[in-house]
């Protein structure tokens, strides 16, 4: 039985150099921050994702205020959005110690303005309110997020659609195309092509989702399973009495 989190703990794409940094005490060495930052930008370009390596960057920022780079932080948070329902986003925010507005940056720090908006986006995803998510994401309010950040993250919208797919396939056996289209923020005409890649079938306006452990339900009766240790006291007493 392979662990459900082993890829999260150690993504197969993680290079050895990063693995050594993440697992050793060298992760505290401020001079390694650029290696980790480069790795983050590599993830952004090549649709990879390595939560623990990104948390290591935030850890370095936490201890060394002078390393702080808001663009990197925002990119980490954007990447973490795509991992819902896993808790990566909150784990990242947990490491962002409150700080006074940094005076030494060339430009005003974009994070204080964007963090609340990213948090809202995250909670919309968490609550599976996908249509509202897309509406907000495409709103004028978030133009700066799109133009400066998510546009750089290759496949960001598809990664969010994968969040949708995870939720839909756990809950539905069949779903109307219109409804799915609103979740995926696709035109109804685009849906058949999109779901085909997933191996789902479209039949007269309804998408059929193949059976998986989560969308198959059956009632069961959980039977008590008595283990030997529960009886050791009784047995040993019986033996000593005999």
């Amino acid at each position: 039985m392979s662990s459900a989190t082993s890829e999260w703990v150690t993504p197969p794409t993680r290079p050895e150099l990063i693995e050594n940094l993440v697992s050793g005490v060298d992760r505290y060495n401020p001079s390694n921050v650029s290696i980790l930052e480069d790795y983050l930008y590599h993830q952004i370009r090549s649709q990879e994702y390595d939560c623990l390596a990104n948390l290591a960057i935030l850890k370095l920022y936490q201890f060394n205020g002078d390393l702080y780079n808001p663009d990197v932080v925002i990119n980490i948070l954007v990447k973490a959005l795509t991992s819902v329902p896993f808790p990566d986003f909150n784990l990242s925010v947990a490491l962002l110690d409150d700080r006074p507005p940094a005076a030494n940056l060339d430009e005003p720090d974009p994070l204080p303005a964007l963090l609340p908006r990213l948090t809202v986006l995250h909670s919309l995803l968490q609550q599976c309110r996908f249509p509202v998510f897309w509406e907000l994401y495409r709103s004028d309010d978030l133009e700066s997020l799109r133009d400066n950040y998510t546009v750089e993250v290759v496949g960001f919208e598809d990664a969010i659609r994968e969040v949708v797919v995870r939720a839909v396939k756990a809950t539905f056996q069949r779903i109307r195309v219109a409804r799915l289209a609103s979740y995926l923020s696709l035109d109804e005409s685009e849906v058949p092509a999109y779901v085909e890649k997933l191996g789902w079938k479209v039949d007269s306006g309804v998408v059929e989702i193949p059976p998986n452990p989560d969308n198959q339900i059956e009632s069961s009766v959980v039977q008590e399973n008595i283990k030997l240790p529960q009886l050791t006291k009784v047995i040993s007493h019986a033996i000593s009495a005999a």
């Binding site: 662990s3 005490v25 808790p87 409150d98 995250h122 009766v221 008590e224 007493h237």
Partner: protein, 713 residues
């Protein structure tokens, strides 16, 4: 000055050229028990004209070995004296029996000038004997060498202050109750002899009893003052300060000096342990080792919380904080913990143990440090310490990663220190909550809470009992939170205790949005005391002003907000489930009608509810604490087919085992009772009674037994 309680005599003795006189005159009439010259003071003795012959002194010491116990003369370490003082002389404390006192009095000269003495002593209880004595005393040879006059001309304010301070310290020494002095000497000896049993008694019982009796509201004597009692043993003084500051933190309000000095002392201790040549020959009880690490982190956390409150700092504190940026820095704390882990090779040790390697193989693997219990335990405790520090800093994944080699069970030798055992589970459980792995958190809490319940009877008198109980109370609260978010039937016993204690909050928590306040209340009560990694910018007044203006919130606010966001994401789930429970299948439009909600939104809530019923959890043999399988956490499962919701429920079959086991045990007790009872003497009246009473109870016994055994098969 003579302490009336103890008869201990402390005085200043002018020593230039007269130490030998003193010693010889003392020893002429009274055997010297012990004359201790600290190596650091040898040089000091040379500073004086006509330096005393050290060999002579030491030879007196040797002779005294065979003499009767009457006196003890100690020369204090340099730190005791003001370094710039021209009058800096070996300071002596003469502990004399009644008999010896009259002799020593003759040889006393107090260097303090009259007005100084009065100012100082007026505050103290003036001892009449001494008053009489020091009016006209001078040592015979002092006038001859003329040094005193010379010195007098150079007496500065600072010198006077130093002298005054010296006097204060003597006064303080004199005020130490005799029993405390004896305790310290005894404690010191136990440490020297590496007598773990004696150390444990002194540490766990003696110290606390004396604290209750004499130091419930004040500090213990400072290390410098008791130094003469322990031959100025620096290592013991470090350990003593460790206890001294811990007492200040736990009973009193530590001021900035205490905070800085306790940090310095911790550094000295760890420096000694880590940077001596090879492993140090020290042995301490496991409990104390845990307390050292635990207290180190507690003081770090306490300092961070205190440091974050800029507004309440005085000018002096601001100045000290701007200079002392390194004091209690997160890096230095992590450095200590990681160094202890590496030195002891504790991870290698744990892995080797799990692989079942032999003692010799393990000794080879862990090296010269790791084989010593002191380092091994410190290494393990540092793992738990790191777990805690990472949690306090909000790094929950790293916290669990540190522990990846540790197997959480109650069989490892590391569970012997209960406080450590409890802390481990508390922090691991809390990490799981923040990782939204509620079943794992529940398992951790149930396991340790049961352990605490079982241990309760043995721990009621332990001094850590209060702390353990407090942690347990917080874990009950966390259990209530987890059990609301992910109901489980893992342990009825704990669940019932929690229901009793938090019935009100549990009721509120299941009420969706309005229940958030109850979550907040329990979380704030039970969460660790989070800290910010960095100090406010004390070194730069402008930045500091900006920092104050920015109104930086407490770290716990942020973690609370994150936790509540998780809770909010599944607030709809309980209501939905309660409706779904009533049906086998139901149209989504109809359900939306019941809930008075928009159909599309309700369908999205269904997806959220479904997500909330899935969770990563360890199912058994996973290696690291971060590993786990996706499991279903709810009895109620549903699926949506187009617009039709199909529901089914897992039910739990009746549980028989507990009932049969209880009755089997009951039957056995009855049987044993009958078996052990004397045979009834056949009498006319008593016989029917005796036979009748046990009979109905005894009867079901064989039957129950049969079933219990049958259940196993």
């Amino acid at each position: 000055m003579v302490d009336r309680n103890t008869g201990l005599y402390s005085c200043d003795i002018l020593t230039h050229g007269c130490s030998t006189n003193l010693v010889s005159s003392l020893s002429a009439t009274t055997p010297i028990l012990e004359l201790v010259v600290h190596p650091s003071r040898k040089g000091a003795l040379q500073e004086f004209e006509g330096p005393p012959n050290m060999d002579l002194i030491l030879s007196y010491y040797r002779k005294s070995q065979i003499s009767r116990l009457h006196q003890r003369v100690c020369i204090l370490p340099k730190a005791f004296l003001h370094p710039s003082s021209v009058l800096s002389r070996p300071h002596r404390l003469v502990q004399a029996g009644k008999k010896a006192k009259s002799i020593t009095d003759k040889h006393i000269y107090t260097i303090t000038m009259a007005q100084q003495r009065m100012a100082l002593w007026a505050a103290e209880e003036i001892d009449e004997d001494l008053h009489d004595v020091d009016v006209n005393l001078a040592l015979g040879n002092y006038g001859q060498n003329g040094l005193y006059d010379d010195a007098q001309s150079r007496i500065s304010e600072a010198t006077l202050l130093a002298v005054q301070q010296q006097m204060v310290q003597q006064a303080a020494f004199a005020q130490i109750p005799d029993v405390v002095k004896r305790f310290i000497v005894h404690f010191h000896n136990a440490v020297l002899e590496k007598n773990l049993a004696e150390i444990t008694v002194a540490y766990e019982s003696g110290w606390n009893k004396l604290t209750e009796k004499y130091y419930a509201k004040t500090e213990w004597p400072e290390a410098e003052i008791i130094a003469p009692l322990v031959n100025d043993d620096q290592l013991f003084l470090i350990l003593y300060r460790e206890l001294y500051y811990r007492h200040v933190y736990s009973r009193l309000q530590p001021n900035i000096d205490d905070r800085f000095h306790s940090y310095e002392n911790s550094c000295e201790l760890f420096n000694y342990l880590l940077n001596s040549e090879g492993p140090v020959p020290l042995e301490l009880p496991e409990q104390w080792l845990w307390d050292i690490v635990d207290e180190f982190i507690y003081q770090f956390q306490s300092f961070c919380v205190w440091r974050a409150k800029v507004k309440t700092k005085s000018d002096e504190e601001l100045a000290m904080l701007s200079d002392g940026a390194q004091v209690w820095s997160a890096y230095s704390v992590l450095n200590v913990l990681y160094s202890l882990i590496q030195k002891s090779r504790i991870n290698d040790y744990i892995l080797a143990q799990q692989e079942g390697k032999s003692e010799e193989e393990i000794a080879e693997i862990v090296g010269e440090y790791g084989v010593r219990p002191l380092y091994r335990m410190l290494g393990y405790f540092s793992l738990v310490g790191l777990l805690r520090v990472h949690v306090l800093l909000g790094d929950f994944t790293l916290a669990l990663k540190v522990m990846e080699n540790v197997e959480l069970n109650q069989k490892t030798p590391f569970t012997r220190v209960t406080a450590c055992h409890v802390a481990t589970y508390y922090y691991v459980g809390f990490c799981y909550i923040m990782l939204r792995r509620y079943p794992d958190a529940i398992r951790a809490f149930v396991s340790i809470l049961n352990f605490i319940l079982r241990m309760r009877q043995y721990h009621t008198r332990s001094y850590q009992y209060d702390q353990i109980n407090k942690t347990a109370d917080r874990m009950y609260a966390l259990f209530a939170i987890c059990n609301t978010l992910s109901p489980s039937r893992l342990d009825d016993n704990i669940a019932n205790i929690v229901k009793d204690r938090y019935s009100e909050q549990i009721g509120k928590m299941s009420r969706g949005e309005e229940g958030l306040a109850a979550f907040e209340e329990l979380f704030q009560y039970a969460c660790p005391k989070f800290i910010a990694a960095n100090a406010p910018p004390y070194e730069d007044p402008d930045l500091l002003a900006a920092y104050v203006d920015a109104q930086i919130g407490e770290p716990s606010t942020r973690h609370l907000a994150l936790f509540l966001a998780d809770v909010r994401a599944q607030t709809a789930a309980p209501t939905l489930r309660s409706f779904l429970k009533l049906y086998a299948s139901l149209d989504a439009a109809k359900l939306a009608g019941f809930l008075d909600a928009d159909e599309e939104e309700m369908v999205q809530q269904l997806m959220a509810a479904k997500a909330a019923s899935r969770c990563v959890s360890r199912v058994g043999s996973e290696k690291g604490m971060l590993e786990g399988q996706m499991i279903s956490t709810s009895d109620l499962d549903f699926v949506v087919n187009e617009n039709m919701v199909h529901i089914c429920e897992s039910t739990v079959g009746r549980r028989f085992a507990g009932w049969f086991i209880r009755n089997t045990e009951h039957a056995q007790r009855v049987y044993d009772g009958l078996h052990g009872a004397p045979l009834p003497v056949p009498k006319k009246a008593a016989a029917p009674d005796a036979a009748a009473a046990p009979a109905p109870e005894a009867k079901p016994a064989p039957a129950a037994k049969k079933v219990a055994w049958g259940a196993k098969a």
